[in-house]
């Protein structure tokens, strides 16, 4: 394992400390595990909290700030945070307007957030939640606990965060978050695995000419493994699944080409070159494109495509001002 770290049991807290020291005007760390909140607490608005395991940087701390999240909670690498951490975050940011939890659909995440919610509700804090499940790779069948939440989550933060900033009610903010979830689909792939520091060995292995299609953001297996293809062919494969899952015809969309962590930006742009052409050909209008690292998997090499079907309201909220370390609009 070749990593730029100090000790495997220090990566999470040194990461959070380094993040807070980089952006003190945006972020303040609570004294209860790796929880960051807005340095300037905003009142009179619904407060948003999200989080998950560490290793997805800039998610989730990078999205704390004006127009997005009010708090982010980071568990151990690829492990859900515990309810008490989440609860402390909720308590710190709660306003009269209530709190919305944005959860990615993993058993551990859902349970830990829900427990935190119960704890907060016992204190009289109004809490609602939405569960993001944008990954179309593994089908939502009898044998799964539903689809996984991946990079589309960032659109939920952006859009629900923008509405919350206007002072909208908890129900409205939850409703728009669910509107985003209903309209966003994602799928990813990888050509090189990542290594959880505490594990010390790669999460999976690929041959020199192999790729894993439909991979999750913790390196979970996807639909299948096959011989590496060209960027255009891979892009077409992912787009096919995404476009088959939701009717985007005639719609305006927001597109995110998300790097898994070790993918050069050059390659993400080459992929976007194809995405733009295919969507144009199909008459799907791209209103805005995001290319970069939004929801990573340590040093995994690969990418995901997320496509959000917009309506006038989502469009307006996507464009609304946001000022966070990792997302500015």
């Amino acid at each position: 394992m070749k990593k730029l770290i100090n000790a495997v049991d220090q990566v999470e807290n040194q990461m959070i400390s380094g993040m807070v020291k980089a952006y003190p005007h945006y972020l303040t760390k609570l004294n209860c595990g790796n929880v960051v909140v807005r340095t300037e607490k905003k009142s009179g608005k619904v407060a948003l909290i999200s989080g998950g395991g560490s290793g997805h940087e800039p998610a989730h701390g990078g999205y704390v700030g004006t127009g997005m999240l009010d708090a982010a909670v980071a568990g151990a690498v690829f492990t859900s945070p515990t309810p008490d951490q989440i609860y402390e975050g909720i308590k710190e940011i709660a306003t009269d307007k209530g709190v919305l939890m944005v959860i990615k659909n993993y058993t551990g995440d859902v349970m830990n957030f829900e427990m935190a919610r119960e704890m907060a509700e016992m204190e009289g804090i109004k809490v609602e939640q939405v569960i993001v499940n944008d990954d179309v790779a593994v089908d939502n069948s009898l044998y799964t606990v539903g689809r996984r939440g991946v990079a589309g989550t960032v659109f939920v933060h952006k859009i629900a965060g923008a509405l919350a900033e206007t002072g909208a009610d908890l129900e409205e903010v939850k409703e728009v978050a669910e509107d985003v979830i209903a309209n966003v689909r994602s799928m990813g792939m990888a050509i090189r695995p990542c290594t959880v520091p505490a594990a010390g060995v790669p999460g999976f292995e690929l041959k020199d000419d192999e790729m894993e299609v439909g991979i999750g953001i913790h390196g979970e297996p996807g639909t299948h493994r096959e011989t590496l293809k060209t960027a255009d062919e891979i892009t077409d494969m992912l787009l096919d699944k995404i476009l088959a899952d939701l009717d985007y015809s005639g719609a305006e969309t927001a597109v995110m080409i998300n790097g898994a962590g070790a993918t050069p930006l050059m390659e993400l742009f080459i992929i976007n070159n194809r995405v733009a052409d295919v969507l144009a050909e199909k008459g799907i209008k791209v209103y805005k494109t995001f290319v970069g690292e939004y929801m990573t998997s340590l040093e995994m090499e690969g990418f995901s495509i997320s496509i959000l079907r917009l309506n006038d309201r989502l469009k307006e909220l996507l464009d609304a001002p946001a000022d966070t370390p990792a997302f500015k609009a």
């Binding site: 492990t79 515990t82 309810p83 951490q85 830990n112 799964t144």
Partner: protein, 208 residues
């Protein structure tokens, strides 16, 4: 049985889990993400430290504290599940300084309900419930038959072990293993195994 004994039992669970740590992790490696033993051992180590600081006769408080400690140190799926199980058990014992065998079964019943509620799961989904529910049923039956505490617990551990065997035969539909679909068949569930380990520890304690 008083608060002191309950504290001793919790220490016994902790050392049992620590002993089984590698095996539980190996099981989770096959159909999960290979951290169940590590998660559980970390949590019970924290429980060890925490309960020794408690100065209370209230068994409910001790169990609730153990549950909250698990919740705040285990993480992942098993943290909230076992945490909830112990907290719910603790609630049935609120303000009580003695625990009887039927109290114990009420605790276990509350624990099962807690896991079901928290995990939105039922029997037959290849989870810890597949050991917990048969164990509870077997012990309820044994108590009706008027067996001794030791024999009741013996029936319970027997049933739990059978439950673990049963998990090998079914497809996981909850937790990480569910992504494997049919490939999860043939492997025993780590959570069902760790529950069985705990029940064994209780049996060993009361028969020692």
């Amino acid at each position: 049985m008083d608060a002191k004994k309950i504290t001793e039992i919790l220490h016994a669970l902790s050392s049992k889990i620590d002993k089984e740590k590698e095996f539980l992790t190996e099981l989770d490696n096959v159909i999960g993400d290979g951290d169940h033993g590590i998660n559980m051992a970390r949590g019970f180590k924290a429980v060890d430290a925490k309960i020794d600081t408690l100065e209370t006769e209230d068994i409910g408080e001790i169990l609730r504290t153990a549950g909250m400690t698990l919740v705040s140190t285990v993480g992942g799926a098993s943290g909230p599940l076992y945490g909830t199980a112990f907290m719910k058990a603790g609630m049935t014992m609120s303000k009580k300084t003695q625990i009887s065998l039927s109290d114990f079964l009420a605790c276990l019943n509350a624990a099962v309900e807690g896991v079901k509620m928290r995990g939105k799961s039922v029997q037959g989904e290849k989870t810890m419930l597949d050991a917990m529910i048969p164990a509870l049923e077997a012990m309820n039956k044994a108590i009706e038959q008027g067996l001794t505490s030791a024999d009741v617990l013996k029936c319970g551990t027997e049933a739990a072990r059978q439950g673990v065997e049963y998990t090998k035969t079914i497809i996981a539909t909850k937790g990480r293993a569910s992504y494997l679909g049919e490939r999860s068949i043939g492997h025993q569930d780590p959570g069902a195994t760790s529950f069985t380990n705990m029940l064994e520890a209780v049996y060993d304690y009361i028969t020692a």
